[in-house]
Symmetry: C3
């Protein structure tokens, strides 16, 4: 299985162009859109999101990760093998949190380049062909990398920010709920929020935080949009009290 983690948007051409490459190069391999609206231009928030959502996928899954504001510049193309899952991505920190949380992590540098490499769409031209090779069980076209000096090595274990806002207006934070106390309160934009188990445990219209289905502390309002009710946006600081 190939899992797509991008900030491309699902309606535009980029997802389809990348899927067309995969369909030709790895026919019959299932391709799943996990996120097509990862935080745009924001490899740091995206790294915490990826690390929370990759873990339910089985070993052998290939993650094709493209949040790539530096495309066309000098940033390298890398791959990571972590707990049996493969990841290909630009070298901008996007894989750093998934790597740190893995029991076994091995880094690679992708040295192969296609004959025609556009300046702005390495997802289609470079990363998708490499992901297809890995999904077919072929070797990575690159060299091992010791992983030292990788971007993101100094990022915190938990990111005290809003990292994603979903279709309902629920706001995921970079905190893993298991690392917060059962009585912990979160604060965002001056509002303090108590923990609940799930939506139906609080009155309609009440704001709270809870452990979402992937272990992240998530800010929500029962029956409404926390984004609108609390005026939230990605990157906003979240405090713990």
């Amino acid at each position: 299985m190939i899992v797509l983690f991008t900030d491309f948007g699902v309606a535009g051409p980029y997802m389809g162009q990348m899927r067309a490459v995969l369909a030709r190069a790895a026919p019959g391999v299932p391709v799943i859109d996990l996120f097509s609206n990862a935080p745009a231009f924001n490899a740091k928030a995206s790294a915490y999101l990826l690390a929370a959502y990759c873990r339910e996928f089985t070993p052998g899954t290939v993650f094709l990760c493209v949040v790539d504001p530096g495309v066309g510049g000098p940033r390298a193309a890398i791959a990571l093998e972590a707990d049996g899952r493969w990841y290909v991505a630009p070298d901008n920190g996007l894989l750093s949190v998934a790597a740190r949380r893995a029991a076994v992590a091995r880094w690679w540098r992708i040295t192969w380049r296609p004959a025609n490499l556009s300046a702005s769409f390495h997802g289609r031209d470079l990363f998708a062909p490499v992901a297809a090779r890995l999904a077919l069980g072929q070797s990575l076209p690159g060299e091992p990398d010791d992983g030292r000096d990788k971007i993101g090595g100094d990022w915190p274990d938990e990111l005290a920010e809003i990292i994603y806002i979903d279709h309902y207006g629920n706001a995921m934070t970079g905190f893993r709920a298991a690392n917060l106390g059962p009585g912990a309160r979160l604060t965002v934009g001056g509002t303090g929020l108590a923990r609940a188990h799930t939506f139906s445990d609080v009155p309609e219209g009440a704001a709270f935080w809870y452990e979402n289905a992937n272990g992240l502390a998530e800010i929500a309002v029962n029956g409404a949009s926390a984004e609108k009710a609390l005026g939230l946006s990605i990157g906003e600081n979240v405090g713990v009290a």
Copy 2:
């Protein structure tokens, strides 16, 4: 074929996570997104939408329906076999209109629970595995239910509301056009609308209603957005004159 009817949004993680479960549990079974933006938190409007759009699918189709504001609370998980199609859903009225309009309808209660059931994402953890079993022709992991006292039993045959607004700004109502007279006028927000056959039968910029391709009375403007032109929103009352 498994058909997805949800309010998850297509760009976020929920659709992909559910699709990944289906790809592993029922490999090779086609999965179609029918609606990924059913009215959020609104099982009633969603029920009329589902009932209008399920009928073009062949017997044997499995509908995986998740509009589930009560997730994690006491609401039951149910299944319905209606005119040869299967549906799995939370017990909140979402299937009630499809059941009522079927010649043959049999209800079930889903009693199986997975080892790891999250508090907030039963689409992934509970409903998708059950849908995969049904799509493979396996038996439903539950018990027959007499269907009495199901939520939605007292809802009207036609819902006098806007139940969906599409990408173009066309507004679907809960009325089936075949149950309105040929000269019927609809009123919404003080505006009266005459019936037309299709868009090109009225001048550019004119508002009208017509029978959409799934039999619903739909409010539209030729070449523009009825949502913006008339200031419409889901849940708004629609009158018949």
Copy 3:
């Protein structure tokens, strides 16, 4: 492979309904969403977009193209075979630019009609079944057409307008970059823009234009949305200086 080029929106029912027809009629044929948000009601801008994005697909690909504001009216249904790729579409100019730029182009009129043809959804009822037939290698259910008097025959080679704005807020124009001088400046809404190779060649927040990964001149801002920064919209005039 069947490639979808529509203005349907990906979240609503139309894409799924069309995909369900294709899954039944051409099982196992890969289906790719290229654009599901082509400029709504705008066959002209869409024609230049399609012509730029069709070329990376291999011969034998079938493009199912539905930007169809005249649906239900007298407009014909047509097909085009151009450089080995097939296209089906309403006869409103949508295929005219792809045809003009092909070395070999043959037009057809689709004469087949399904038993049940809705007034407003020919994508599902007419064009999808025809695309499925072509993808299976079956003959086109129609007649050759000499292509004279096709809509769009008098449209310019390059369209001096914004034809698409992507998920990041980048604005594609109807100019092919190869036909603009290396020192050409574009002007939009009174702002002059110099050419750059790619995003990372300009300072964060700077506006520029560049040749996108499909050869179009595209207006962008490094690390931000050109749409918002410059107040752009589809159809806006773009000048060359």
